[in-house]
């Protein structure tokens, strides 16, 4: 066998049975190494979060976020007579996030492709879904850390007024849901291309359509059906419920299903790129 193992003939029955026979033996060793699903996803989450903290772009986004939220808070919320809630701040921030989140997520998958690191990732026992989910949670954690920088504003507000905490909590929940949906759109865009800038543009385009575009459609649509469609897909419309402190199940479902939908798309795109 040794000399002619390169023979191009088919496998004999004996060889085939010996090959199959050897398989279960080794699978014990594999199961001791874990399923590769959950722990791999946690590893991806940690790595994504760490890579955001390494990346100068994340700091730039963070800096702009802080400056803008601080400015809006001081000039708008902190004015005498204004509402003691995070509403106006968060509604302004939602606009900002249409541009900020795509910049956070643009390198996420695109860079793995452009650097070639995707090859190491996709030849490890990790499913495509775990890769995307890991990246999603990593970016979401970074986003939540950014969001947490508004807590001092909240504390300051309690000094001068009595905000209703349930309202504040719902508005924070809304911000997290909004971020999750934006991040999933960003990841989808990032998995479509190896060019970071292109990925940011795709994500901004999709998010603009689902916010400003849908808003316009809701106002100026030709028929009632078009107008109500525009109103339904308008992310900011659903978000304003949360910002006001209204916990609407329909809007909750909208955000969760939208996020799942784009994460699913991102996974499918990643999968399909193997075939190219």
């Amino acid at each position: 066998m040794a000399a002619n193992t390169l023979a191009t003939e088919g496998v004999t029955a004996r060889e085939r049975s010996s090959l199959q026979g050897s398989a279960p033996q080794t699978s014990d060793a594999a199961s001791s190494q874990g399923s590769g699903g959950a722990s791999a996803m946690v590893a991806m989450t940690q790595r994504e979060l760490a890579s955001l903290f390494y990346s100068p772009i994340a700091y730039v986004v963070g800096f702009i976020f802080l400056v803008v939220t601080g400015y809006i808070f001081v000039t708008d919320t902190l004015e005498p007579g204004s509402e003691a809630s995070m509403r106006s701040l968060f509604e302004w921030m939602a606009y900002l996030l249409v541009f900020a989140v795509p910049i956070l997520t643009m390198r996420s998958v695109a860079e793995e492709f452009s650097s070639g690191a995707i090859e190491m990732l996709m030849t490890a026992p990790v499913s495509d879904g775990a890769v995307i989910l890991g990246k999603f949670f990593g970016t979401l954690l970074f986003y939540i850390a950014l969001l947490a920088t508004t807590i001092p504003h909240l504390i300051l507000m309690t000094v001068y007024a009595q905000p209703i905490f349930s309202v504040v909590l719902v508005s924070y929940l809304g911000m997290i849901l909004l971020g999750a949906l934006f991040i999933s759109v960003g990841l989808f865009a990032s998995s479509c291309t190896r060019h970071q800038l292109l990925s940011a543009i795709i994500a901004i385009a999709i998010l603009s359509l689902l916010t400003f575009g849908a808003d316009r459609l809701a106002e100026r649509g030709g028929t009632l059906a078009i107008r109500s469609f525009g109103a339904y897909v308008n992310i900011l419309g659903h978000f304003s419920d949360f910002a006001k402190g209204i916990l609407d199940t329909g809007s909750l479902i909208f955000f969760v299903s939208g996020t799942v939908f784009f994460l699913f798309l991102a996974t499918k795109v990643l999968e399909s790129r193997r075939w190219r």
């Binding site: 193992t5 090959l19 026979g21 050897s22 190494q33 722990s39 690191a117 090859e119 190491m120 030849t123």
Partner: protein, 320 residues
Amino acid sequence: MIQVKNLTKAYGPHLAVDNISFRVEEGEIVGFLGPNGAGKSTTMRILTCFMPATSGSATVAGYDVFTQSMEVRRRIGYLPEGNPIYPEMRVREFLNFRGKLRGMGRPEREAAIKRVTDRCWLGEFIDRPIGQLSKGMRQRVGLADALLHDPPVLILDEPTVGLDPTQIRETRKLISDLARRHTIILSSHILPEVEATCQRMIIIAGGKIRASGPISEVRERIKGVSRLIAEIKGPKAEVESAVRKISGVKTVDGAAVEGWNRLRIETDGHDVRENVAEVAAKNNWPLRELRLEVGSLEEYFVQITAEAMAERKRYTAAVA
């Protein structure tokens, strides 16, 4: 351990891998040899489940690379070409990440990192960012990653490319050491590399297997095309015709060098040195040199790849 059957990979109309089949037994170390763009990396990427084949099948350790991809991935340590690893991570951090990706628990991971950093001489670089390391060091990090989970199969794409001579020697030695415990496929476009480390070689060019077998066997095959060089003093025409008459001699090509006839004799594979000496002695022609010029693997390799190029050119012309 590895079995590839009628594997084909097409990128549009271009066939990167064209119906190749081979087997690798457990514990073997096999070298893929071929020029750049021959289909080596594509074959490796299919074996490591990075991309699916257009047709044909491949199994690793009894698992199909397409339908049982996760099982295959658990059993393979892969060093991709160009070794792309995250430059911002530190070596320990990177290996830790890779261990977690493979589902290894903390104690197991720590032991594995210790083992592979010792093996790949990475000890003193363990806390350095990968981006600051030289190409050779990065290559070692990639190798350490491939060994981390102690896989039965190692697939190494151009493991010594970009290394300096000392590092090349060290890496070759490491690979030879590893061969005892792992089944290894490595690729190279440098022939001495495959000669030095592998037991068997597969020469690929233009997506097809051109030659394969144990190194010694391939070398034996090359001997068939070897030439005899003889320098004999005597009348040119007579010397040449006398030598030509020896059985087994195919062509004789003579040239005058300092009053001697320098003959290049091609044979059908027989060693005719004795007969040439006899002819010279019988005719009282002085003989001052008689040697076998063994065709180098290099020449053979060049010849094979040139054929592949010509074939591809004909094919493209036919398609157009």
